[in-house]
Symmetry: D3
Subunit: 314 residues, 6 copies
Amino acid sequence: MKKELKIFCAGSNPALTSAIADVLQLEQSPLKMSRFSNDNISVQILENVRERDVFLVQSLTTPVSEHLMKMLITMDALRSASARRITAVIPYYSYARSDKKDAPRISITARLIADLLKTAGADRVLTMDLHSPQVHGFFSMPVDHLTATVLIADYFRKKPGSGNMVVVATDAGGAKRAGRFAQTLNIPIAIVDKRRLSDTEVTQSGLIGNVKGKDCIIFDDEIATGSTILETMKTLSSAGARKIYLSAVHGVLSGDAVPRLREAGMEELVITDTVDIPEEKRLKNMTVLSVAPLLAEAIRRIHTGESIGEIFPH
Amino acid sequence: MKKELKIFCAGSNPALTSAIADVLQLEQSPLKMSRFSNDNISVQILENVRERDVFLVQSLTTPVSEHLMKMLITMDALRSASARRITAVIPYYSYARSDKKDAPRISITARLIADLLKTAGADRVLTMDLHSPQVHGFFSMPVDHLTATVLIADYFRKKPGSGNMVVVATDAGGAKRAGRFAQTLNIPIAIVDKRRLSDTEVTQSGLIGNVKGKDCIIFDDEIATGSTILETMKTLSSAGARKIYLSAVHGVLSGDAVPRLREAGMEELVITDTVDIPEEKRLKNMTVLSVAPLLAEAIRRIHTGESIGEIFPH
Amino acid sequence: MKKELKIFCAGSNPALTSAIADVLQLEQSPLKMSRFSNDNISVQILENVRERDVFLVQSLTTPVSEHLMKMLITMDALRSASARRITAVIPYYSYARSDKKDAPRISITARLIADLLKTAGADRVLTMDLHSPQVHGFFSMPVDHLTATVLIADYFRKKPGSGNMVVVATDAGGAKRAGRFAQTLNIPIAIVDKRRLSDTEVTQSGLIGNVKGKDCIIFDDEIATGSTILETMKTLSSAGARKIYLSAVHGVLSGDAVPRLREAGMEELVITDTVDIPEEKRLKNMTVLSVAPLLAEAIRRIHTGESIGEIFPH
Amino acid sequence: MKKELKIFCAGSNPALTSAIADVLQLEQSPLKMSRFSNDNISVQILENVRERDVFLVQSLTTPVSEHLMKMLITMDALRSASARRITAVIPYYSYARSDKKDAPRISITARLIADLLKTAGADRVLTMDLHSPQVHGFFSMPVDHLTATVLIADYFRKKPGSGNMVVVATDAGGAKRAGRFAQTLNIPIAIVDKRRLSDTEVTQSGLIGNVKGKDCIIFDDEIATGSTILETMKTLSSAGARKIYLSAVHGVLSGDAVPRLREAGMEELVITDTVDIPEEKRLKNMTVLSVAPLLAEAIRRIHTGESIGEIFPH
Amino acid sequence: MKKELKIFCAGSNPALTSAIADVLQLEQSPLKMSRFSNDNISVQILENVRERDVFLVQSLTTPVSEHLMKMLITMDALRSASARRITAVIPYYSYARSDKKDAPRISITARLIADLLKTAGADRVLTMDLHSPQVHGFFSMPVDHLTATVLIADYFRKKPGSGNMVVVATDAGGAKRAGRFAQTLNIPIAIVDKRRLSDTEVTQSGLIGNVKGKDCIIFDDEIATGSTILETMKTLSSAGARKIYLSAVHGVLSGDAVPRLREAGMEELVITDTVDIPEEKRLKNMTVLSVAPLLAEAIRRIHTGESIGEIFPH
Amino acid sequence: MKKELKIFCAGSNPALTSAIADVLQLEQSPLKMSRFSNDNISVQILENVRERDVFLVQSLTTPVSEHLMKMLITMDALRSASARRITAVIPYYSYARSDKKDAPRISITARLIADLLKTAGADRVLTMDLHSPQVHGFFSMPVDHLTATVLIADYFRKKPGSGNMVVVATDAGGAKRAGRFAQTLNIPIAIVDKRRLSDTEVTQSGLIGNVKGKDCIIFDDEIATGSTILETMKTLSSAGARKIYLSAVHGVLSGDAVPRLREAGMEELVITDTVDIPEEKRLKNMTVLSVAPLLAEAIRRIHTGESIGEIFPH
């Protein structure tokens, strides 16, 4: 139906984009990014995209503002170059965490970014494991929202002793996500009941559920500094947990998160490549599953008009 | 700043609107609703609203489509009659439950309704206890989102023996709400870990947390048929719970929900009047707290430009 | 050009939709409508519609608000499921009667509904015999506006004695429609000159034109309770009319309209199936002409890009 | 509430604007219109309009395209000069005649112009006697739609022998307007039943209603060339009419319309000044009633937020 | 990809449109323009355009308002007749001269017109030599902006003695355009340094650059009355210039511009046919280069999705 | 008219904002900017802004993407906190340089940013010395566009020997700006005629105008690396210029621009504080004029509805 599919990368995920292009047996299309002396970004699309079905891959990873602006400017250039359809492929939509107004006079930035993407020319969005599924509704265009939960569950299922595991949520807000993950693996859950004592003090009042003698998988959508996880690991250890696995879809891993978690005794860290993790950062005890096959299949189906909902259980 | 504040009711909450008007020491403004012989709705505003600051109260209660259409048509009439600003006051926004895409090819109707409200002329929204706080971000206009949690917690705090209570969430998805409620009361939580065995069978695999000898408050945003609650009550009884209180902000109470819950041994049902509950349905063991003072104060502050965030802790 | 045409029914016209699908030699596509316990409507499209050219049939018949909301929610689901184009097929657009501001502070609801349809995702509209042709201009998207006038005129033309007939408009506002219908049949018209004496009293000051010894066809766009028609029948009888036929495109027929009209001596009632008329309501003296062939041909032409204006004389 | 009201004229109605300003005891605000050598129009507002409540008077009279463009450019200049609110005062909205699609592939230009006005910055519209009342619904902003019917009826009511008059519509499409006018005067109506024999031939098949020995008022929304009226006058004379008055709200009077009508024996032509009629064109037998007091009162009420619907019976 | 390309002319450039159609080996598609007696414009498209890829040619030449309105109404008719895509081909976009706010409270009309085109249904624009390249950014849709500079430069390059030429800008604002033209020809530039002495007096304080004994080409985007050029010619003559050529893309040539320029001793006037120049106005010393091949090639590439940027050096 | 004026700074210009607040005798309003561990920006407005007239100061200086995102998120927070009007005060709108499409498939980013500002909630813009005046037309909201040219001209006028000065533009594109500046000082201009020999080589083919024995002011809208200026300084020196002053409104001064320029022998660098220049960077030979009084006066007038055009000659 659509003429030629084209795939571009706006800078955040070169390896993932390349892997997707490989699965699709396509050449990644070239663009030129430069910077004027006043720090303005300049983007030039280096191939004709008239009437083409264009997919632009960009995660909102550090530096987030830069990556976002590069995506917006690239989309504007694509649109004005007469691309027929532009799909923003955003494996990690970090601002999804700003999804509600839990303090006065703040911005629900996940909605703002959705609107900015539309203003800049996005016709549709392909994303993965949004912090809350409601963020889907922030977009005024069609969204395909995939999950890597099954991919990660499959990985753990193959481990010996997976029957003796328990999934742990680091607070009540993560109970639902942990519950769905636990159900996929058919194992129980436990939840840390974190209480805020005052504006400045947080305490973990205890653990709901049983972890004694069990291997725990602390599961979340993203891991950044790992501070909350460190607290949870202590709580689990005190409660008699055996091994502690950490897993998340989005491996933000800011600062010295990985060394600290390893020091604290994590058994293994299992994440995906929605956030780019350069080779030198891929340390021991760290497993990076690739979402490239999932994204590639979704892109193929979007392009040809085949069903996605029937394939991916999100 | 704004000329005269006017308050209208589009049919769903006559008693609440009247109570709000009383608090504000205003006369409720009149409108005429009729129906043509082809079932079309007709609305006429019976007072001049030019340049007025208008508040239109309507909950999306049964019959929901009728109530929604009446609100949309009334807003269109107000706008075309040159109201300066129209605030949709929606104490119970029932479609907030359709807030994500948990099956293929469904509508995130909570977003659709938000867009329809804007199309029909709403300039802002005042609502209460949305099913998930993310629904706030579905609106492209300013929203004031109040909560009745404090009101309900205050009620329970005054009960003798409130120190021995535990808040129960009926599934992992409600853990966060229950947790915040429990924190307000400074008591523990317990969670029912409900598992879906297949597309047609659901089982409750157990209870996480301790309820033995405790008075339980099953707390949710809304109670409709009460089926899930009935299951939870059985689970709690088996687990040695003493009294079981039920509480929710929105008392939808469809069909014979209340008799069935009373029969099942509930101690008391505590709800608010965001959903209209006629006098004849206000039975024994049922406490209806009024949100009129909260809404009235919010309306007053919206009208005068005073801060709301500083007063209401949402 | 477009991939596969798909046709859905949102509930109001199952028989008509089925007849259209038959003419087009298509299977009607399935969707599932259900209702949550809080009365919210839920719609799921049960077939892949990505990049498909979708036609959704729904008349705004009783219960109008329900039928409208079902159409809006279904369109939202179709759009978010990536349908390439959505045509709202609305055989009877009842709110077209709310097309002007003939009282202060009312809503021109025909325009509001047009805007709501756009908000919910309609790309174009296919409709029939709008109350006034100006309603076409309320839509900000392409509209194909068909008429069943020719279909009905053909029916009467074949009756013996059709040369001795006269078309009657029940008031001055219907004179133009009656005039066009009369011209198609090449017969004269007569008009009831209805005068409003005060806000509460209406009188019919007389009949303009000659009906003595003639067979009359009272012709309108829709018949609901039939009260006005009953008055007109009396006026015609007094003026010496012979037989009285009643005809309208949209047979709303609310309450006991048909029995009352039959009792009053109508010769025959001729309508179409733009409003669903279940078998048990299709009584003697009542002829229901089907618009399915017209709508099917229009749908085929919209899908293939053939001219409609050249075929249908509207 | 609003700062200073300002009134501008975009060129079509200098006398009317001046009369409105007089009633309002305001100075008309100045602007400069010029033309570049490439025929581009240039408009400069010559007074500060920041935060002012601006009314811009312009009828869409000959040359229509010029007058429209001047209005659009002036509104754009006003908006960009930070006017707080811009009301387009359009006494004669000539394109209202293009209000439906009565031939294939034409534009419903009355809707297009409404959208252009919005694009150029109009916040609201004040207009008079639209060709059909449905045109009101073409605007997506508040419209105040006045009528001069009462003004004209009052004029005729004061004539001796007004009880012996009959209102005549030149075709079935005008029956409703004539009917409302007749009702105001409490006199009967008659209608010319014009039939189109083929695409090129039109015949008037006769007159419905009685005019013998009566003084007729041929009443329409506008009179342009007067050709149809000339035909109607012949029909009326043949049917025994006595005097023939002509009346319309909008006196377009193109070409030699007035001399031809006078020659044909019209008793008097009664119109208003919604279309500018220079002194030299105001001949004998021609009465021009001014709508300035109506428009001025409406402007005053729009500015102060007083009700208009309660005063003007439209 | 797209069905059948269709090309229409809205009245301003019949010869150019016909030449474009010839290059593309297409029949120009017919439309009917007429005028009602109230001066309203009426347009009917006389061919089916459903799903067609339509190009509408119209320059904003005298009478500008008429030509613009005809284009807007034609586009509205095309859109409502279900054209798949409408490209506004505007060889001369005269309002581009109103591109900035160089006086208080004026309209940046070039932006307004861009917005009006969008409102009326334009999906894209194809234009030539905008007064300033920034005007491209006024459009919120894709624009292909061609230049005839190369065409004109080629013409001069072939003249004997072109090596001894100098390009002259009539003021500092034209220096950049003249500079680019000079660079194409690889010859020097000179600039008239025009100073405004007061609001009413302008003086030319002198010439920057050397023209003594040289053949000058006064080059601009458009020539209207030629008054500025006449001044410049005097300045050049005083400075010892030999021959003086005049050249511009857009030959507006209002009033008696050409005779005056010829009288003043211009050697030759070289323009293009973006502005229609009827045969009788094509005098001696006047060369009209046709842009039809450029526009035709661009239209072909837009239709097929081939690159334009790679071909045309704008 | 408007309640309380409030002024916020989004981070780029703390000193300028503070100076503006001082002139207006206001306290600058507080906001809190923080960063989540995934690099997301978080903004909280720390004062009630309901119904307030808010001015948010932010220049698009290095790091541009960060500063832009902070402005967008802050505006979203202000809007959702019910600010009555938000004016984006952007002293230096750096992306104005991306104002045209001078290469294929690039973004006219100055337009994109204008649209993003609108999406995020800006109601109006106050800016200074846009790279080209046409950029004003990129905004779809009212813009007040001030210039610091007069401020700088006043500074030079007071220098001894200012009568012997000449203004130099570094290329033809800057001729117009230099011309206006020269006219204010009533001195001549000279222009460097820079030619591009090929895609990679640029040469300066010479100087148009006379600088021998004169003091030159190289004048531009912004100075970043200063490379072009260095070339121009050489050209001027070769041509016999005496002192060389450098001046620009926006002192971007990236890298070691200032030392290099000083080394090259500039007499003095005169800029303004539209770009924040910390105390330690304010070296000898460098004069920073403050635009705070201009911006403060404009803000005051915007707030009170007084004319700006009449005061500032832009």
